[in-house]
Amino acid sequence: MKVTNLAIALSVSVLAITGCSQQQSAKANKNAKGISPMLQASNAQKAYANRFGTLPSSSSNNVKARVNSPGSGAGSSGSSTFGAGSGTSGKGGRDTFMHDYTSPLTGTKGRGGRGSVTGGLSQDRRGGAAGGSNYSSLLNRTTSGAGGSGSYTRSDLKNPKTLLAKKVVYFEYDSSTIRSEDFDMLDAHADFLKDYTDITVRLEGHADERGSREYNVALSEQRAQAVLWYLKGKGVPDKQMETIAYGEEKPAVSGESERSWAKNRRVELNYYRY
């Protein structure tokens, strides 16, 4: 009994100490909401981890399993790419199927999800709904939205029946945390971008009119970066995303009310050439 009490005391104190030290470093950089700017920007990373439960590195095994399944016509050429996946980034560079990222919070390197494909794989593997949903189910993720993920055409960007037609995410005052209700829509954009590697999205961050203008530019950049990290965590390569911070200079609506301000605190996903 003494031993268990000691064990409890030890584990509690260890938890307390690690909790305290985390707080110390976070305290140094708190913004008005009490969350470090670094933490806010990487909340997207955390959301990813929370959602899928596993660290991305373990998912590479699952993908390998899918590649080796029978019936995939270009399986041999495909598996050679994936076979190289566990240790290296396959064909090299950012255009390969497996895709590296580094978590800004923990510094751990991991493999992203289904990336975009450049040569070497046949058409039926590229952008197919089958590939997308297999991968999704392997990660125990419930896909939602119209028609599932992965089967978008370019014109779907303007199709009001798809999630892609929605191109704005909104934020709370003084916050750059992505709200959970926006996850599905962002997932759809991630799938789209991974399918069409020639398309770049401009993530345009905005703030409401309260406060000084250049400081608001910086806040709006944090919002755009939060969206970027979310999409990156879903496997969208850096080269397909651009962030631009407009601060309060380009409001969507005019008016001095909470309602107007809420509509201006946003990140717009803008596609110009698709």
């Binding site: 470090s36 407009y246 200079e249």
Partner: protein
């Protein structure tokens, strides 16, 4: 002694005068007379000669805007004779003001100089006289006259013969046009120097008044430009990845302090304008932006939220530790530094207002009355602040408030949405 009395009193008086172009009616607001003791009463008699009365009107408007004078209508100086005739002390001493100003154009020639004299009511005698050189633009002669009177009677150098820049926005939300405008310090004679379909912001005057630095999104991303006002030519000074913002000229005109997020988060850097060389000053994980140079050219005041919310800090240009300088309230930002003073944005109970702070004592007074006031810029004498505010019916207007808070005026501009004002140095 008059000057000392006036300076030691701090009674808040709100005097708003809407300044419209001749096609609009003037709107008068209530004037609270309780604070009039702290201002010098002055009668500006209409000046004689070509453009004479135009000039005296501008002089009167300038002195009113300064917050240190109460303009008294000349009908309160009955029997006062025009300049050139001798002063009758008995008549002068009956005037209900502290000073009377008389003036006249020297000749009928359009290139004529202007003669001015200041009469002291208490003594019944002429106090000072001066001659203003001819300028093809009569408004400049008027501003120089106002500068002389202001300096003579307050001991502070006048800043009426100066310029401002601002960004005017036209059009509906989906179809906006942004104009970078240069105008006189009272808003008159605006001139568009850049037009863009994308935002322009944060224009800053070089100390020689010949160049402007500003941020433009014309290319689709923010780029800092330096534009020569004489030639209209411009060069891009920074177009790095991320934010390129908040340019501020050093007192010697050689450097721009800027905020760049190229290395991951917004930091303050110095750029050598001649060769583009960059030196990083701040090193924090927070937002560091809105730099403003101190007059000795050796340190920079900037906004940082490293302490949890935006506050003002000071850092030497040699680099090193940043020192916090605002300790009241949870939001202090966007400093404009002139001499020992800084104008800044302070949030109090949810309202954003302009405050003027003494940099040595760190004491500050709120000088504006709105709820969404921002973008303050001090005049080169530190005695007036131009800033952005809102009024009913307009999205953004420019206003000038005196540092003692006693005068507050909306500035004339042809835009319903005017922002990012910046005050030039003295025009030599």
């Amino acid at each position: 002694m008059m000057i000392k009395m006036m300076q030691s009193m701090r009674v808040v008086l709100l005097m708003c005068v809407f300044w419209f172009s001749p096609s609009y009616a003037e709107i008068e607001l209530e004037i609270d007379k309780s604070g009039t003791n702290s201002q010098l009463g002055i009668v500006i008699m209409p000046f004689a000669g070509r453009n004479g009365s135009n000039i005296s009107s501008v002089v009167e408007a300038d002195l009113k805007r300064s917050g240190r004078f109460k303009a008294v209508n000349f009908r309160h100086a009955p029997g006062m004779t025009p300049m050139g005739t001798p002063v009758n002390p008995a008549i002068l001493r009956r005037v209900k003001a502290d000073y009377v100003v008389r003036g006249k154009m020297l000749t009928n020639n359009p290139r004529s100089d202007l003669l001015i004299e200041i009469l002291n009511v208490a003594s019944g005698r002429r106090e000072a006289g001066f001659r203003v050189a001819n300028h093809e633009k009569y408004r400049r002669m008027a501003h120089q006259t106002a500068d002389f009177i202001y300096h003579r009677l307050t001991g502070i150098r006048g800043a009426f013969d100066t310029l401002i820049t601002y960004v005017g926005v036209r059009g509906a939300i989906k179809n906006r046009e942004y104009h970078l405008v240069v105008a006189d310090s009272d808003g008159h004679d605006p001139e568009i120097i850049v037009k863009s379909k994308e935002p322009i912001m944060s224009a800053s005057w070089a100390p020689d008044n010949e160049r402007l630095a500003y941020v433009s999104f014309e290319s689709g991303r923010p780029v800092i430009y330096v534009q020569d006002l004489r030639t209209g030519r411009r060069q891009a000074v920074s177009s790095r990845k991320g934010i390129n913002g908040a340019p501020a000229w050093s007192p010697n005109g050689r450097y721009l302090a800027v905020s760049l997020s190229v290395e991951g988060n917004p930091e303050v850097y110095m750029v050598d304008v001649a060769n583009g060389r960059l030196k990083r000053l701040t090193k924090s994980r927070a937002i560091d932006t809105e730099p403003s140079w101190e007059s000795n050219g050796r340190s920079i005041v900037f906004t940082s939220d490293r302490g949890g919310s935006p506050q003002l800090y000071r850092i030497p240009i040699t680099g090193g530790r940043a020192q916090r300088i605002t300790f009241t309230g949870r939001y202090n930002s966007d400093a404009s530094v002139v001499g020992a003073k800084a104008a800044l944005v302070r949030r109090e109970e949810g309202r954003f207002r302009i405050a003027v702070m003494d940099l040595s004592s760190h004491e500050a007074d709120i000088v504006s009355k709105g709820a969404l006031d921002e973008a303050p810029s001090l005049a080169p004498n530190g005695a007036m602040v131009i800033y952005e505010t809102r009024t009913r019916g307009k999205k953004g207007v420019l206003a000038v408030v005196s540092d003692n808070g006693l005068s507050s005026q909306v500035l004339h501009s042809p835009y319903n949405d005017a922002r990012h004002p910046s005050w030039s140095s003295y025009l030599r």
